[in-house]
């Protein structure tokens, strides 16, 4: 909590003990402050009070006036002069609570021995504390058909439900997806879905986690384990830059489930379904387990570690080399790559941006993002939030939840600059500034912001020239804060670690001599390369033109580029050392393949979009896989350079003692927007983004999760649809000189010049299919 805020404290007496709590605190939570646990089911600190389960009844008097009957302590805020008697000191409250518990149990099945919740069940626990040892109920229990799928990943066991409405309130109040609701009445009341609209919420897994009984279960965990057989490790989510605190539960070396952790300053108690359920890639059957070296016949064969390390070192040493590190590396691994490039390879040719990118972006990151700190708390206090090149619900779901919370709580003003009105932006009740793809910069200049405002810039902002220049100008002129929110978990850490051509670790500009000297001294090397390194695209081009001969690549998918042909050509051509967890386009073309540890097998940290460290320990300890960092150290040693980064702890210590740059920031060269292209009758400008649930490699092997992905469609405006005679569901062929995709049409609120399709969903992999992602002119034909 921010200590600068002045809080009115109210003192109340609970069970004879005085406690002072902020005004507005509910009695049940004031009691918690004293360590007095009042049993509860429907109460949840992040949901609006409902007072439905009646489990938390206590006796209350205010200034000598006693309530005639016990009150639900989860619905009543403290008041001056209040005296509360809980079950500990009031026989009335105690009997009331025991009575309610008995009622809850009469219709609850005795299937604890086979229920997933057994062992970690609030009903089970509180039945022990507040229930009777033996039942007085001799009647007939209410029964329902056993579990029904309310989505492909959530199952509902209505018999077990205690109707606390946590799940329905979460979906409505937190996620903004009121797709489940309570139906029917009396003891037959039940959670249900609208038959034509299953529970397709990106946040549905949270309902499973907050269900106080085993009524909601996840399809992928159901019947897999008993909670007491699991070993839990605090962890961080590797899927996006939101930075969720997580818990990974492992049984006998195998991850069985992941849960949202509790961090009030970041993800509160929530996460998204991708973070919760997409972890099977770690245990996929095709995991790389042994080093591979390409033999003289050109075939990758298993090799010993020393052999492979030697082969890698020799290849890198013999060539001019560059480094490509994907956006999924941990902060420590990225630092290893950064240091490796400078010390072992003597180059600044390193780029973590294995996606569409621009030089304007690189300068923007150096001038405005590195070492900056805009936080979730700033969103809580913002007077206006602008979204540009960013779809929070799809690209950083916890940022979406935070925005949604503030929109619901205090009608936070949100402005979205985009070509298509997305579901998420609609839920945020945002002002939708509709622009043609590529023309976002102009819309920025007309915004009136204050120093309390925040501009949330997505990584896609770099896909339109001049947008980042306009963002910087708007922030300069208004004092508004900038927050750059990349999609991948490792990008911010990689930026801070200097895994980019224009920056050294800690935001030190490569071209700044004192900054170079600073790092060189720290690393104990005579000097560092002084010219700004190449970007990913330039590195591939340099390989193809012959000026670079070797690449060391970690976690990069060459198909994430809009010129994947050039990337693949470069991979064929160069001597490639690939650090990977599973076979990929890179490892298939590599000369040396080195298996690395997946996220659950190693420790480390990610820096989320705020720049906040999200550290985690290895959840699976008996993995033989090494971290990227350890392998880089071994290669460097073989090459005669000293990385001295044998362990993650060593790297973390080194990063910490290095600190951030206190000299001048790099400046940014303004870039002008490009003019809008002139379109003929059936031409459109392409607009796309990646959906949360799509063909991303980290979602591999999780079919239940994939079942809730949004439908793949091509979105066009009503005007253009009318002109082309297109109705919802008609097939549209979108093509470029590179190729085409055919998708079902959806007529929606989108700029007339634009056509939208998901960037990497089933049937719509635009970078591969069209060789374009955003801003390209495409031809659209109705089939």
């Amino acid at each position: 909590m921010d200590t600068t805020e002045i809080v009115d404290l109210i003192t109340v007496v609970i069970d004879g003990f005085e406690v002072s709590v902020p005004k507005g605190t509910l009695v049940i939570r004031a009691a918690e402050q004293l360590g007095i646990q009042i049993p509860r089911f429907c109460d949840h600190p992040l949901l609006d009070p409902v007072g439905a389960c009646r489990q938390c009844l206590v006796d209350i008097e205010i200034n000598g006036r006693a309530f005639p009957k016990p009150q639900a302590s989860c619905t009543i805020p403290v008041e001056p002069g209040m005296i509360v008697k809980t079950q500990l000191t009031s026989t009335v409250a105690d009997k009331a609570q025991k009575g309610v518990m008995e009622f809850l149990l009469i219709n609850h099945p005795l299937d604890c021995p086979v229920c997933d919740k057994g062992g970690e069940c609030p009903l089970q626990n509180q039945a022990m504390s507040t229930g009777r040892a033996e039942t007085r109920f001799e009647g007939v229990k209410r029964t329902f058909e056993k579990p029904i799928n309310i989505s492909s990943q959530v199952l509902l066991d209505r018999e077990r439900c205690v109707l606390c409405a946590r799940c329905t309130r979460f979906s409505d109040q937190i996620a903004g997806d009121p797709f489940i609701t309570l139906n029917e009445r009396g003891a037959l009341q039940q959670v249900g879905i609208y038959e034509k609209q299953p529970f397709k919420s990106y946040f549905s897994g949270n309902t499973v986690q907050i269900c106080p009984v085993g009524a909601l279960t996840g399809a992928s965990y159901r019947f897999r384990a008993r909670p007491f057989d699991l070993v839990s490790t605090p962890s961080a989510c590797e899927h996006c830059a939101s930075g969720c605190d997580m818990r990974t539960d492992v049984r006998r070396g195998k991850t069985l489930r992941r849960l949202a952790g509790d961090d009030s300053s970041v993800n509160e108690e929530w996460n998204c379904d991708k973070g919760r359920w997409a972890f099977k890639y770690v245990t996929a059957v095709d995991r790389l387990t042994h080093p591979l070296v390409r033999n003289e016949a050109g075939v990758l064969v298993q090799a010993s570690w020393p052999e492979a390390i030697a082969a890698a070192a020799n290849g890198l040493k013999a060539n001019t080399s560059a480094v490509l590190v994907g956006g999924r590396a941990t902060h420590e691994d990225a630092y290893g790559f950064s240091k490796f490039a400078r010390i072992a390879l003597g180059t600044n040719d390193i780029d973590f941006r294995s996606r569409l990118s621009s030089d304007e972006e690189r300068e923007f990151l150096a001038a405005h993002v590195v070492s900056s700190s805009t936080t979730y708390r700033d969103i809580d206090r913002a007077d206006h939030v602008v979204l540009v090149g960013f779809e929070p619900e799809e690209e950083s779901p916890i940022v979406f939840l935070r925005l949604n919370k503030q929109v619901r709580k205090r009608a936070l003003k949100v402005t979205a600059i985009a070509s298509k009105l997305s579901i998420g932006v609609e839920k945020l009740k945002a002002e939708f500034v509709k622009v043609a793809p590529g023309q976002e910069a102009a819309a920025l200049s007309s915004l009136a912001l204050t120093a309390q405002s925040i501009i949330l810039v997505g990584e896609r902002a770099c896909e339109s020239a001049g947008v980042l220049t306009a963002v910087a100008a708007l922030a300069d002129s208004t004092g508004a804060k900038i927050a750059w929110i990349p999609r991948r978990a490792g990008e911010r850490g990689a930026l801070e670690a200097g895994a980019i051509g224009n920056l050294l670790p800690g935001g030190r500009p490569v071209i700044d001599t004192p900054a170079r000297v600073d790092i060189a001294t720290f690393w104990g090397v005579p000097s560092l390369p002084a010219t700004v390194g190449r970007s990913s695209d330039e590195i591939y081009a340099a390989v193809n033109s012959g000026s670079i001969g070797a690449l060391i690549i970690g976690g990069v998918d060459p198909l994430d580029s809009d010129n994947s042909a050039a990337a693949l050509e470069a991979l064929e051509k160069a001597f490639v050392v690939s650090l990977e967890i599973a076979p990929s386009e890179v490892s298939a073309r590599a000369n040396v393949v080195l298996p690395v540890a997946a996220i659950t097998e190693k420790s480390g940290s990610f820096l989320n979009w705020e720049g906040r460290a999200r550290s985690f320990d290895a959840a699976v300890h008996d993995s033989l896989n090494r971290s990227d960092l350890r392998i880089l150290s071994m290669i460097a040693e073989e090459m005669g350079a000293e990385l001295n980064l044998g362990t993650v702890t060593a790297a973390a210590k080194e990063i910490a003692s290095l600190g951030a740059w206190d000299g001048a920031r790099a400046s940014m060269k303004p870039v002008n927007p490009t003019d809008a292209p002139t379109l003929s009758g059936n031409q459109f400008i392409l607009n796309s983004w990646r959906r949360l649930l799509d063909l991303g490699t980290l979602q591999k092997g999780e079919e239940n999760l994939a079942g809730t992905a949004r439908q793949t469609v091509a979105v066009i405006s009503p005007n253009r649809a009318q002109a082309m005679g297109v109705a919802d569901g008609d097939l549209l062929m979108i093509s470029t000189s590179h190729g085409s995709v055919t998708l079902a049409a959806l007529v929606e609120n989108i700029h007339d010049d634009a056509i939208w399709a998901p960037r990497n969903s089933r049937g719509s992999q635009l970078l591969v299919n069209l060789g374009a992602g955003h801003g390209a002119v495409v031809t659209v034909v109705k089939l």
Binding site: R54, P70, A96
Partner: protein, 426 residues
């Protein structure tokens, strides 16, 4: 001896009593004219002075309720009339609306003016199609005559027939298009009611009483009734009586007097037990024949005036069977929101079924009372409380009869004997 004081029911026996012509013939719509010329605060004061109290059961002073609406807040205010009459035994609003719908329409105009509302809603239960039609016609006629539409609009909303929607906040949820379940209070409807705007929710009979008060004055109304329960009201007599029906009399009349006026208990039979205000009010027996039927009198005797639904049961009735029927109703109508009512009624029914069938034990009786204790005052709204009333009060007065079911291993009564068709075609 107290006699009937027909005001609302004065002209029910006229063939065309429900028409706007008949209503106007007897001075209808003069009160609204008079009230609209008054300052809204003066109307509220007049209703306060009259001592009119809510006729839906709780007896909250109507004028005071209107006075809770914040004035000059630049918000829309709403008047909502609760016509979701569904308490077992209660049958006053439906006959009233059948025979004289215009008195409610005129009451709405006056009340809306007083609380500065431009919109009034009548929420009526869905099953009463004929009354819905009659009320719709009355509203249409009032619009044609210019009584409605000039400052006040009146909307008739037909509910789907859930008992819970008679609870005022559940009613508001249902009116807004949601599933009817009671809302957490505060905020109270006077602050955030329909569509989160200040709202007054009144019973049909309360609003219908207003035109006469405007026309005849607070003193006239005060002249009827008892010290704290002013005015006249509709008593609904049903069950084992010779002449069931509506009897409009000053508050404080006794059952003995009403029975004398109406023609008494079913001939040849004697009073066994009765409800003063519907099934949710603890039952009375013949020892309560002289209890004054006003808010205080009934409360002092351990029950509630409620809706003044006098359900009369003679000695042929098995109290266990009657209580079981009522409990089945509560189980069927429990909205499911809170645990004690939802699960409690589910359980109570099962125990009572066993008891009625002679399969119970004396421990079951103790358990029944203990469960009632765990429901009463523990549930979210008064529905749960109401469900326990018939059980606890019947065990209080007729414990022996429950025991007889246990020792007899069955019901000692002939269920046919209590029917109206007993002896027919035997």
């Amino acid at each position: 001896m107290t006699s009937l004081t027909p005001v609302l029911s004065a002209h029910w026996d006229e063939k065309d009593s429900f028409t706007i012509e008949a209503y106007t013939r007897h001075g209808g719509y003069t009160a609204s004219k008079k009230a609209l010329a008054m300052d809204p605060d003066a109307v509220i004061q007049l209703v306060k002075d009259s001592g009119l109290r809510g006729r839906g059961g709780a007896g909250f002073p109507t004028g005071m309720k209107w006075g809770f609406i914040p004035q000059g807040d630049n918000k829309d205010h709403y008047l909502v009339v609760n016509a979701d009459e569904s308490e077992p035994g209660t049958c006053k609003d439906m006959p009233l609306l059948m025979a004289n719908p215009h008195v409610l329409v005129e009451g709405c105009i006056i009340a809306a003016h007083a609380i500065r509302a431009k919109h009034a809603f009548i929420y009526i239960r869905g099953e009463v199609t004929h009354i819905v039609r009659r009320l719709n016609q009355a509203i249409e006629d009032a619009y044609k005559a210019g009584h409605l539409g000039n400052g006040v609009d009146l909307v008739l909303h037909v509910g789907a027939g859930a008992y819970i929607c008679g609870e005022e906040t559940a009613l508001l949820d249902s009116l807004e298009g949601f599933r009817g379940q009671p809302r957490l209070r505060p905020p109270f409807p006077a602050i955030a009611g329909l569509y989160a705007r200040p709202t007054v929710v009144n019973n049909v009979e309360s609003i219908s009483a207003v035109p006469a008060i405007i026309n005849n004055g607070a003193e006239w109304y005060q002249s009827m009734g008892t010290e704290k329960s002013k005015g006249a009201t509709l008593y609904s007599l049903s069950g084992h009586v010779n002449h069931p029906g509506q009897f409009e009399a000053p508050l404080g009349i006794t059952l003995r007097q009403i029975l004398e006026i109406s023609g008494g208990i079913r001939t040849g039979h004697s009073l066994k037990f009765w409800t003063p205000g519907g099934s949710s009010t603890p039952i009375f027996t013949d020892e309560h024949l002289d209890t004054p039927l006003d808010y205080e009198g009934v409360a002092a005797a351990g029950s509630m005036l409620g809706t003044k639904a006098l359900q009369i049961f003679d000695e042929t009735t098995c109290v266990v069977r009657a209580v079981l029927r009522w409990t089945e109703f509560y189980k069927h109508e429990s909205c499911g929101k809170c645990t004690p009512c939802r699960e409690g009624t589910w359980w109570l029914v099962q125990i009572l079924r066993d008891l009625e069938a002679g399969k119970g034990t004396e421990e079951d009786l103790a358990k029944l009372l203990d469960l009632c204790d765990n429901i009463l005052g523990r549930s979210f709204c008064a529905l749960g409380d109401g469900a326990t009333s018939p059980i606890t009060s019947s065990i209080k007065y007729f414990r022996d009869e429950y025991i007889a079911h246990i020792t007899n291993k069955g019901c000692p009564f002939d269920p046919i004997a209590s029917t109206l068709f007993v002896g027919v075609g035997a």
